[in-house]
Symmetry: D4
Subunit: 220 residues, 8 copies
């Protein structure tokens, strides 16, 4: 490899947390295990905290063993070193079932790492609306509710019509055929007839946690 082929150094932005309330987080999907380790080490050394999402199980287990103060959450594919201070505020994460779990867990683990309490409601679907009603009061007591749904993406509308807490909707690519990899759920959520629903990208559990975190932090 010639000198112009040296990989460029990843610049770590330790000022981002102060500037935007969200620290730099590693998107693991396009990085090697060595790259994740290097960046996480530097972030943890600088701020006592590092988080990486979309880390594959084999990498996650190895990194949890080698990095300081580290845990790996396989279902969420999240790697965490250290944690931010507890906020004492509660956010719910809701979805209809097992297919949406990876995205819901990415949101939940990010919220927890950012210091918030998380309520997990993982079997509330529109096709059995009694289950949603059964947890209505618990959802209503949270500061925000992240609703994760694939297929027809109808759950955010139902939840938002029942509670005072704001709803952050996360479409997932769960489905087939005319779900078009999450497009159907995304469009449904953007067209919610219940006012006060906001939306993030398909499968973006991490992003939904950031939205909740920024709102909670802005009001601290």
């Amino acid at each position: 490899m010639s000198s112009d082929e040296r990989p460029p150094e990843f610049r770590v932005d330790l000022a981002r947390a102060g500037r935007t309330n969200v620290p730099e987080v590693i998107f693991g999907a396009s990085k090697t295990r060595a790259q994740i380790e290097s960046i996480a080490s530097r972030l943890y050394a600088g701020a006592g905290f590092a988080l990486a999402t979309r880390v594959a199980p084999a990498d996650g287990a190895a990194l949890a063993a080698s990095l300081p103060d580290a845990r790996y959450f396989e279902r969420a594919q999240v790697l965490q070193c250290g944690a931010l201070p507890r906020s004492g505020q509660r956010v719910a994460v809701a979805c209809a079932g097992t297919s949406d779990l990876p995205v819901a867990e990415e949101a939940a683990r990010t919220l927890d790492a950012f210091g918030h309490d998380v309520g997990e409601y993982y079997d509330v679907g529109v096709a059995g609306v009694h289950r949603v009603l059964a947890v209505r009061d618990e959802l209503d007591a949270c500061r925000a509710v992240i609703v994760v749904a694939g297929m027809e993406g109808a759950l955010p509308s139902v939840v938002a019509g029942l509670i005072r807490a704001p709803v952050i909707a996360v479409p997932t690519s769960v489905g087939y055929g005319a779900s078009f990899n999450g497009l159907a759920a995304l469009l449904a959520m953007l067209n919610s007839c219940a006012p006060g629903v906001c939306v993030v990208n398909i499968d973006n559990g991490f992003g939904s946690a950031c939205v909740a975190h920024k709102f909670l932090s802005a009001t601290a």
Copy 2:
């Protein structure tokens, strides 16, 4: 106008009702008042029944006055001459509010003209799911439920998860922006997580009534 400019004669298919259980019905949107009158007259003369959809109010009022045994329903834009025999069977038509009414009414008036009893439930939306629950037993007592919805198109999933009757979903072009003229609702309905939902074209209230009618007739 030269001879090759004579409008071709509309062929009236009186055998269709016997062959397919659905009589020939006039799609008024692309026809002149005179054309509707001519075809309706021939259909009524042959079978004692004629139905036209998408008839504009000015035309509808005039035709209701000139055609035999005729009534015009403005909100549904439906013109009816005579009626088919009563079946004694009941079909519900449900939607969330006033915007979806023209499509819901097209379905309701077609069902009524075809001889079925119609239950109208026009203020049941997903953003206020208690209203759906309040009429659950009434919907469940019908032979079929036509659910009309625009925007996120979530109502059919909620209804189908609550009742034994089959759900025929009609997406409408109600909405703006990312509703893409009904595409969002259409995709949502096709991806319903509640099994047993079938779908017709955007704004096709008439078509949904035909689906119900064919099922009810096939079982008579």
Copy 3:
């Protein structure tokens, strides 16, 4: 694996059959063999019946051996434990040829498991309309006809124009290029000029069987 990594328990909804006329059915595509076995066992224990779709052949063969009263249908990728009572009613499943067979068989096996008689018409395509005409009377004698088609998706229109029984259209992802994985067939079916055609999601043979089943059950 830490304690917060325990997989959540699958909740089995034994009340669904009573509430919606369709029992809970396992969507096998996103589940492990162990998960399918666990859920099927509990469903069969509770109701004497379990059904799973999209079960891969290796899993299907093994599960058919280990589960009680079980059979696996490879072409349909359907696993069945027990059966619902026979209804004595007949539904046809029609398609043009071998490419659409997996979807057609998913519909047929689901209908049979739900207790209905199934007529299979698997070589009736629009490019050889004489074959459709040859079975017209048989199709017309059924309570409903499920028509499965990929590519241009024209078969439901032709069938619906010939018979009194209602048509449930299933677009398939069979085709290439401008079929866009079934979108062409889906759009064609939604725009059918034959009134009384309803549509389900691309490749959703199971869903089409549920539509027929709910209609037949609603009229029992």
Copy 4:
């Protein structure tokens, strides 16, 4: 108007007929009556023949009166001055009904102007396939069959499966909702399961006539 605002002269390409077998034809939709008149006069002066499509009725009537040897066909929106020599060959134009007539007539009048005999079959739809069968032998006796269809666009497949003559399919923008202004019909035709169907642009009756004409001319 300053000198740089003079409209550019339309260049008339009298060599095109010799080079490509299709003479230059005026697309009237984006031109003023004066522009159509000017170009048609020059074309007729040079070659004894001029044709303009998409000419609005008011313009067409006036131009038929002012131009030499001119006729206007209102339903086709075609203006014709003179005619090409008769070929003695026959092409059929088929469609399902009145909505598709303007496009079918544009094809038919262009074919006639180019010298071919035209068989018009304007009530053959897939929802009544017996009407197609009734004219099968007539269609089969033509050198080519232009099939015009909107909505689900299924007619070309049915026709192509019945006859030896090639089928040129013209999707139309007839329909609503999920027809997406002819996209559904276009995709259906491109995915025809009957080999030997070729397709032109949505509503392009003129183009379909050119395809037939080039094939017939190439073989003369």
Copy 5:
């Protein structure tokens, strides 16, 4: 008009504010002046507050004169009767220029009616990023920032990278050609590389205000 043509009564949902923190608001686009007047009167009578969006100028001026305690904001197309109590909390609304003003103003007037202080920043565009930087500290001092943008929809990413307050992004249909009526801006916002951006429907200024309001209310 026969009795079955009586318009259905609009049901006013006075309980919605208590249940969801957002009172029922009238979507004026699809209603007549008389309908808006009737519903606003009942809402105001019940809760001392009524709000209508998408009210055309002629209707707005007349209704502002006839309804109690009413004001009409032409640029926002918002009609307001009474007001909710002041929250003392500040939300910014930012956009690049005059084309996006109607949507930005719909957001601003809704926020003000719901009791929040509004900071308007209407000339901050990505093509002149110095203007954004000039107001950075003011934006950062708000509890939330609503960013309205058409065309390439890049402003939310730039703002979210600069401040701690959360960003609610509103794509607008401003643009032409490949903006596809706001689709380009919508997709850009959903893919923001700045974490913590959430999105509402195209042109949905009202919805963005509801998102901010629910977050602020949930934390009061």
Copy 6:
């Protein structure tokens, strides 16, 4: 495998050639080697001719060895047993380069198997229009020209403007990014400004050969 798992017999339609001028041809992409062998044997036994497209190299080599009178063309992925009588007519196949070769060769080998002479012009691209001009007279001497192109799909327009022979355009999925798997080329070809261009599905070299064959046969 239980009895209801027996694969359905492929029905061979020996009458199709007489009815439609195109014999039944095997689409190999979705069939096993054994299935192709079985069908090809029966077709050859019945008509002395069999053709299969999209046959993978390993299968093709084996089948060419086992089937009677068989050849396999690897670049075209075409398997041929026997041949139809020579027509003495010539069709050109043109494309811009090596990427489009598989589709062009599928067309060429099909034409040859159907009995026509084929002129191959495989390095004529729009970015070097002199190469097109260099073979203009040869193309013009053919009865039809099949033009295969990916990326921007411009070649059919250029060719059609130069010659009298009709142009059958085949878009290919060659390209990346905004080619959207051939959509860009397909749309370009449908919008050709050169009259007399007709289009088949993306990558459908076989279909283009059938169009040419039906035209040539209809005029024999």
Copy 7:
């Protein structure tokens, strides 16, 4: 109108020309005549130059009369006050015919106002490639060639393969059906097989002139 309804002042950015080499230009499509007059006056007062695009004829004629040093170009819908210094450099603008003229003229008038010489080639289409070849040397002598095309958008590829000058491609919304308002041309241009073609938005003649201007200015 209450005080909060005062229209916001348009901020004129006189520094933009120095910062970006392109002065602020008025997009007239969404502005009133009075707004255009006010902004143009201030721009002209500050810099001796003002330009507005998409100005409707009635407004253009009036403004040309009232503004200082002003001319209006109707075909281009461009209003110009003063001019930038001549650069002595030549840019060509090419298109196939009259339908694309408004966009081509918008580019040409902008280039001229920015000080460049413009060569107009308005009848060079791919369907008559001899016309392109006839002006090849003239195009090749320009510093850049703007190629404007609707429908299949093939002209930029042909031109770019013939000359050394760079090609800036402008898709137009000219066409119908599957042109999808310029999408077909846009995709074709983005997929050009001729290297060195760059693309701007549909109908964006002004933008193409800015691209050429920035390149020529950067090298002055």
Copy 8:
């Protein structure tokens, strides 16, 4: 392999560089190592220069060893034999981070091979606009700036608003969900509110370098 299966000879177009200022460059993605070697050898023999893009690492390393005067750049996937003369002109390539590096490097290596100096700015993203501002003067000193961006594709607008040099925007397929493989970035760039941005195909780093090269060459 029979004689008609011989691969056609690749024709090497040594005249292209003189005709279009861009030499023939090998697109390696669809070619074997042997094909690349053969063409590169002939190009280098004829002109002392050969360039291949999208060459996989294994092939690149081998070819760099076997071809004369050859180097392989792994990150760019570019193989270079010889080089064009230095122009002494400088072009910047900018992107936000490591994901876009392959495309940025393809552009940079092509520019360098074509003889231009390249400034690499690989950590300038819109979410940290201070980094863009920090290099503003350096970018402004270049003759052109190639801006590579995925996800929301906002960087070109920000850069183009800051500098006089023209911006060539390259959307990348970096992202997930609603990025739709680069469509979001592509649309954003086409709708840039900063005048003077031109766009090439998704991931087309090579094409962006050709645009810059043609502009620089045209002005030499």
